[in-house]
Each structure stands twice: as C-alpha cells, then as structure tokens.
C-alpha cells in the first residue's frame, strides 16, 4: 500500500495517469460529439422532405354554425372558453358545454390580457383569441415550421380548437432554465414565439 502511495506521488506517474485520462477524455468527448451530430442529421433527414401530415381542420369563421354540443376548456378557475371562441363565466355555461351567449359577460374571440407577441396572462382568453379566424395563417405557419420540436404533441391535434387548447398551454418554451417562467405575467402563447424573457 505504502509503495503504491509513494509511487503515486512521483510526478511522472501522475503525468502518465493524467495523460492517459486526458486522451481517453478527449477521444470519448469527440466520439460523443460525433454521435450527437449523427442524431441531429438523422432528425433533419426525416423532416424537410417529409412534411408532417397535419390533421388540423380550421374553422371558417362561420360562428353562426349551429352546434348542439360544445367542447370547452374544462380547467378554468372562473372562466371557460368553448369551441366557438366564446369566453364565459362558469355559471353561464349551458348543459351542452357551450357558453350562454346571452349572458352579459360572454364575449367571442376576445384577446383581453394578450400582448402583441401573442402571449396572454389568462389561458381562456388566449384560447379565445387564438380561435379568431384571422389567426389561421399564423397557426399554419407555426405548424409547418416551429412545431417540429413538438411533433409528439401536435400530430395528435385534430382541429382548430384542439390546436388552440394545446398551443396556449405552457411548455418547456415558456420557461427559462427549466425552472422559472420567462414571463410570469404573460405565459400563455398562441403565437409563434415564446414569451419575452423578462429581465430579472
């Protein structure tokens, strides 16, 4: 044991050990790098030619369309958005899941609390704003470009309403360093860009 220790204190032994470690370290780091590159190219090869077959069908902005059952945003603390883009209070929800459009506080396609970059502070308004018919080009652009990183999520989406529900949710894009919201005031975004990073 002592011999070993004395041996280890010799400068050249240390040097050799260090040299070997360095070589191993460098080679394995380089190898690792190679591998990540290969993976990345693999991903790229798959994408550009082969467009993701989006299933999304968009509303044509024809809100007078008669509908008997509505899906709605379910989760809200006080507000709900139905699939026609109406935002109402929970108490104004009809049995069929649609908002009661005769209630005084019910509004359609409302962008309250939303900023110019497409980020809102209230989820229900984000969904309603996103359902505006004129947001379709924006969403299509997003699907074709930005959504590649979120394929898992957006290939499951079927129509405009589902797309807006999914798009407005917070995601890894809404956080900085995986632990704080980029902008805690406006974290629900229907737009292409993530929330603007608030200076700390």
């Amino acid at each position: 044991m002592m011999v070993l220790r004395r041996l280890l204190r010799k400068r050249w032994v240390l040097g050799v050990v260090f040299g070997l470690s360095l070589i191993y370290f460098l080679t394995s780091t380089l190898k690792q790098e190679e591998r990540t590159i290969r993976d990345r190219t693999l991903l790229e090869v798959r994408d550009p030619d082969h467009r993701i077959p989006w299933k999304v069908r968009f509303n044509l902005g024809n809100s007078s369309r008669q509908i008997t059952q509505c899906r709605n945003s379910i989760q809200g603390k006080t507000l709900l958005t139905d699939e026609l883009g109406y935002v109402c209070e929970r108490k104004d929800l009809l049995v069929n899941g649609c908002c009661n459009i005769n209630a005084p506080s019910t509004r359609q396609y409302i962008c309250k609390s939303c900023l110019a970059n497409g980020c809102c502070s209230i989820y229900e308004y984000c969904v309603s704003c996103c359902l505006q018919p004129d947001k379709q080009p924006l969403l299509e652009r997003f699907l074709n470009r930005a959504a590649e990183g979120f394929q898992n999520l957006f290939t499951a989406v079927e129509d405009h309403f589902e797309l807006c529900l999914a798009k407005c949710r917070t995601s890894s894009q809404s956080v900085q360093h995986e632990n704080t919201y980029r902008n805690p005031q406006a974290k629900y975004c229907y737009g292409e860009s993530p929330p603007e990073l608030l200076p700390v």
Binding site: S21, F25, I74, Q75, K91, D92, N179
Partner: protein, 900 residues
Amino acid sequence: MEPLEGTKSDSDHAPDQEPLPSNSASNCSQLTLKLEFSSKVVEHEYIVAFTGYFSAKARSLYISSALRNAADRALEWHVVPRENPASDFPSDFELVHIRQASARSLLTLEDHPYIKRVTPQRKVFRSLKYIPSPEAAAPCNATRGTQKWQSWQSSRPFRRTSLSLGAGFWHATGRHSSRRLLRAIPRHVAQILQADVLWQMGHTGSGVKVAVFDTGLSEKHPHFKNVKERTNWTNEKTLDDGLGHGTFVAGVIASMRECQGFAPDSELHIFRVFTNNQVHDGKIEIKQITDGNFNEQGSHRVGKVWELTANRVIMVSAIGNDGPLYGTLNNPADQMDVIGVGGIDFEDNIARFSSRGMTTWELPGGYGRVKPDIVTYGSGVRGSGMKEGCRSLSGTSVASPVVAGAVTLLASTVLNRELVNPASMKQALIASARRLPGVNMFEQGHGKLDLIRAYQILNSYRPQASLSPSYIDLTECPYMWPYCSQPIYYGGMPTIVNVTILNGMGVTGRIIDKPVWQPYLPQNGDHMDVAVSYSPVLWPWAGYLAVSISVAKKAASWEGIAQGHVMVTVASPAENDSEVGGELTSTVKLPIKVKIVPTPPRSKRVLWDQYHNLRYPPGYFPRDNLRMKNDPLDWNGDHIHTNFRDMYQHLRSMGYFVEVLGAPITCFDASQYGTLLMVDSEEEYFPEEITKLRRDIDNGLSLIIFSDWYNTSVMRKVKFYDENTRQWWMPDTGGANVPALNDLISVWGMAFSDGLYEGDFTLADHDMYYASGCSIARFPEDGIVIAKNLKDQGTPPPQNTPHLLKKGRKRERKKEGRERRREKERKKGGRKEERKEEEGKDKPPSLSCVFLPCRSFHSFTCVCGLVCVCGLVCVCGLVCVWFSVCVWFSVCGLVCVCVV
C-alpha cells in the same frame, strides 16, 4: 419529479351503456349478506397446548408420560392425526382424543412441565345468508339520498371490520401482530388487495386511459396488450426502457400475465420522461428534476399539475423515499389535488424509506397539511421485468403504481364516468382506507388502501365535499401526533390544524356563508375559541380550511375535555343542471375535541422560533453537516415537529410545554415563557426584534441558541454548477446565519467564530458527535463556558483575533432557490476518500493524488464537488477547474485525478 401515473376516465363513455356482463346484483349491492356464528364443544377431544414447538414424536411422548402419572391408567386416548404437509414441522399444540376423560386426568396433563394448558376442542359454524335488501328495487344509479360516508363523528379509533366483502385476511391491520405468517404472504400485490374480486365482476380497467411518466417501455413486452401510445420526451433517441423502472410501473398497473397488474385492459400511454441517467438504478429513486421556485403560486411545475388535475386527470404520485426523517415530502405528491402515496411493507409497518411529516409550504406562519394521503405496499412488490418475467422492487415509486392501478380498476367499475374525478377518487380512497394501529397521521395519512371498500364507496357516490382529516381530536394518540402529545392551555400559541377540503362536485368551488363554530355546551365547548381561515376559491378540486384553536380566558385554570364542531358549506356550479347558474352545495361537519389544562408555569414553557427558520429554501442552503456530501443541500425546512421531533419529544418527556412562534420576536409576550429556543436559524433579525429580545432577557427570559457553521471561504467552495439551470449557485448562508446571530448576541459580549470544527465529546455521560459547527469567539468573563477542543475542519488560515463577519446578504437575495433531492446513500467511500485528502494536506506542497471513482452524473456530488467541499484546492488535471468538464469526466466513468 417522481414518476407519475395519471388516469383519465374516458369521458365519451356512452351514458346508456348496458350493464356490464357481470353479476349486476353484486354491483349494486342489492343483496345483504347475513352472517351467523355458532360453536359447540366436540366431545372427547381436547387441545393440548405446549410451551414451545416440538416435533410430533416429542409431543406424543410428553402426553403419554403425562398421562402415565394419571391415577386411572386405563385411560383410553390417542392423538388425532394431522393430514397436512405442515404436520412435518414442529408445532405447539396437539389434538388428543380422550375417552372418559375426568377433570382430574386433565389436570394431571396440565402438570407436565411442557404442557401449557388443555382446552376442549370446539367447532365453529358460520352460516351465510343472502337476503334481498329493502332498497333492492331501486336501480343502481337512483338517488338514495346523499350518502355521507365521511360524516362519521365519533372520534374513537376507526377500526370497524365487517366480515362481509372486503374484510380479507391480509387486510386485518395489526391484529395478527403477534403471529405473523411471513412465508405464506403472497407477493402478488393485486391479489393481496383483492383485485380478483373486481375482475370476477368483469371489471378489468377497460375504457380507462393510464399515462405513465417514467423511463419508457419496450415495444413488444409480453405482459401488455393495450399499449396505445409511446412517446419520448427526453434527449435520448429511444422509446425503450433501459432501466426497468418504467416497465415495472406499467406492469403493476396493467400487466396481464405472470405478475398480474390491476387493470390489464386499460389503455396505456407511455411517456418516456426520464433518461437512464436520471434514475438511480437499484434504489428506485427518480431524481428530482430540480425546480427553483418553491411556492405554490409561482412554480411552473405546480401549475402544470394543477392544469392536469383541473382537466379531470387523476394524478397519483409517490411521496418520496426520504424517510424516516420527517418533513421530507416530495412535490407533486404533497399537493392537495394529487393522491400522494406512501409505502408499507407486507407486515403493515410504514416502510423506512417512505417520506413523511407535514407539508412545509405553510411554514412559518401556518401549519402543514397531512400527507401522504394513503399508504400501500411498496416494499418487495413484484412487477414486470424489463424484457420479460418478474422482479421485485421497493420504494414509494412502487407503492404509487399500486394505487394508480387500483384507481384505474376502480374508475372502470363506475358506470357513470362523469362521477369520477380527482376529488371523488381521492375521497373514496381515503374514506375507505384502513387505519394502521400505532402510526400517526403524518406517516400513514388515512391508512392503508382497501380496494374493495373503495369500490363500494365509489359505486354509491354522490358528489359532495369532504374534509381531510375528517375530524380533529387532539386527544387521540398516536394518530393525531404531535397534536395529541401536548394539551392546550390559555395563553398558548393557537394550535393550527390545516384541513384539506376535497370537493367532488366540481373543479371549482367556494365556501358560502362563513364556516360556523358550534361549541357543545354540555361538553364544555365554550372553553375553547376556534377561528378559521380558508381558500377563497377551491380550485382545482380542493382548498384548505385552517382551524386555529385556542383556550378561552375563563378556562385559564380549568382542566378537562372540550368539544364542538365547525360547519362548512361548499358550493360548486352545477354543470349538468338544465338551469343556468344552478349550484350544488354540500355541508360538512368537522368535529373538534381538545384537552385543556391549566396554564403551566412560565418556567415550563419553551418557545421554538420558527419564523427565522426559512421554510423551503428560497436560496441555496448547504447542509448543517458538511460530511453529508451526497446531499449537500438542505431543502427540508427545520421544524420542531419534523426534523427536530426528537428534541420535541425529549422536551415533552421532561415536562416542558413547547410552542411554536411563527411570527417575529416582537409578536410574543415574553413574560409567559421561560425559554426561547433558536435552532439553526437562517433568517436575519429586525432591529426591533433585537431590541425587544434584549429587554425580554433583562426581564428573565432565557435564550438557547444552537448555532452552526458559517464560513465565507467554505461557502465559496460549496458552490456548485447546476446542469438544469446552467448556472453557479452560491449558498446564501452557512449552516446557520452566524453573522445575524452575532448581531443578536453581541450586546451581551458574545460572538460565534467563523471556524469550522468537528469531533466527539461527552456531556453528562452522553456521547455526542459535533458534526460541523463554529466555535465560541467571545464570551463575557463572568460567564460559564463548557468547552471542549475539537478537530478543526476549517480551511481558512486561523485568524488571530476573533472577528465578526460581515452581514449576510439575505435580504437582497434575488435568485430563487434550489431544491435538490437528497440521495440517501451513505457511501463509506466518501469518508475514506476524505481522510486520504487530509493526510495529503499535512504535507503541502508535495503532490498527492487521489483516485476517486465518479459515481453519479446528475448529482453534483461528483468527485470534484467532493474535493471542493473539503476545502482543498481541487485541480483535476488541467481541466477540472472548469466544472462542466469535470462532469464530462465522470460521465465517461473515468477516474478523476485531483492534484492537491
């Protein structure tokens, strides 16, 4: 993040679906089971019990020798033969047939030294009768009046067992503690929990979607038939499980062969969210995905979980593997809307590793909630192996899929899936859970999962609100520990019980008309004052009701029990009501029972300062004990009822009354207390507090301070690089905020140093270990110091003059804190390595080298971290100075060379 299993009931389930092909009578429990017992003596047969276990031959020998001494030698007897394999083993009784046995001959038998007693053999008859119940005519879903299964008001221990469905032998909690049949316990957890009863009714989890957030699942695993979806959310390009944890979890929920899961027909959605590196193999511990923002409002993770449950996803999560220390609950299992699951072993003991203690969000002003919600088997449970076959694992992340599987199976038994939501499921689970005897509520929650009873409750469920805990009995020990350990008295800090309101009526709700306190006058209810505060909105599915109990002035010298109740009415929008704006309401009663004693004398009253103990660290606080290198972050807020509970118990056993101060020092009447206790405080003191404390001490208050280490150069060295946030974290204080403490005590001419010492000492015959701490730098001449020289752990060159440190920069702190999952491995290696380094340190500047195998990548206790912590100059070759490179080193599994 712990592995999560969520279940979502299929909401597009046709409402007019035909009843399941099973026996619908048992579904609706229209038949009442009537049980009768009778027993009679079997003639001529006697059970001879021995004092120990003997072989058949020995037993026969003893009996014959005993009967030889009997007066009438002509006694005709023979041993009734046993025909079972167990008869080969020693036994402690024998069944003997004796014709014409007289009382005297029986007595001679009992005289034998090895015979304990002789009793006549009895036969027990049990008859079962199925009687149609009076409400048999009512259809299953018809209103039978709101059944209030939570409204049990007696505070007697709830240990009712019926022999009907659901009282399986293995459920009997604790009554067989003297004779445990270890070998005979089947390890198939679904069968132990009697899932087969539900399977036989035709419920197998069909139509329920289960999401498993774990390490993935291989594509063609033979145990699964209904994997709907597998997605990968990690940076590793695979969907397969490289570790076996995700497969195991999925297997406990839905395996269909070998080790059967609970719900083989459920739809599995596999989310691969943990890489092989992020899970520590062998310990079944998912590394915490560190999350900085630890208050319930701000954290994105808490928000995400709210979003899930608000969308009717039932979330089940493991409470954590950080036991037996208290106050170690993990997020998200400690959230009100999540079912937090703790682990027990097959003998109904709380598993040692299971996290426990109250939640700590509410400190210092409030008091923690009861968590875990329920416990179930989590030790040595068998589940699917990675590729095939079965394996057995332990951990609360094993217990949580047991509950997730049970929840899946339960959800599939409910015809009207609209009724299944996160709150109603949790209500059913906790109302049906079987309480374990001798375990307090902060360890077992509501008790052990009982699948069959939960099934019965869920299938007669009407939307309603309920409370957890459902009653407050501060006299009930040990279940209501720590409340039951100390009676309340006039002038004491109010006792706060943080009750959770579960609202099964809707995702959002509110409390209408303030909660009403109703004292029971015949039961001295007027001797206590009760105040409540509550969540303005109950969302999602839950809210709090904090009950603060104090003693009325007129009971200042009264002793006795006082009772009363609080009534709460919860309202939710009625979504299936044809009338717009309709509301569902539900009223729940919270019985309260307390023991009041006369106010104890000042000298017996101790006040624990909680206010200056920071709750969930908003900054990075290193451990008090620097030797605990595997887990250098202190994320368990200190509290006398959690990690300092031993101190609490000791003080109580010495007759002291311990109260908790959740407010600044200026907010208490010092003339009522003998001692103020400050342990490891991290927060600073306001000038007003310092002035007041000085005055209080002049007026006879005693002050006990437990300080800790604080050394800026060590703090610089324990900083670490976090791979998640990609930034360096510097500790905000040492183990305690010594500069702040020095500000506080300087007026008496005392000060702590910035040194760092450790060692063993003996005080009053107690052997003690001083882990890491400072020394006393200054003390008044006429004071009494009990001193002992300890080993200097410190790195800074010793300062000649005891100097006071600069004030910490706590208030300006901008960064929100870190939270780190502790790793419980106490590797011997860590210590050994360190000793080596110290040897090397003796002879600077000679070169010495330490070979340290890098153990784990994600914990920053990589070798370099270790060396840095010891305060030695760490240069890993050339590159190690740059920390992330050192991380690379460890990834390669290479030895790291550190030149000291």
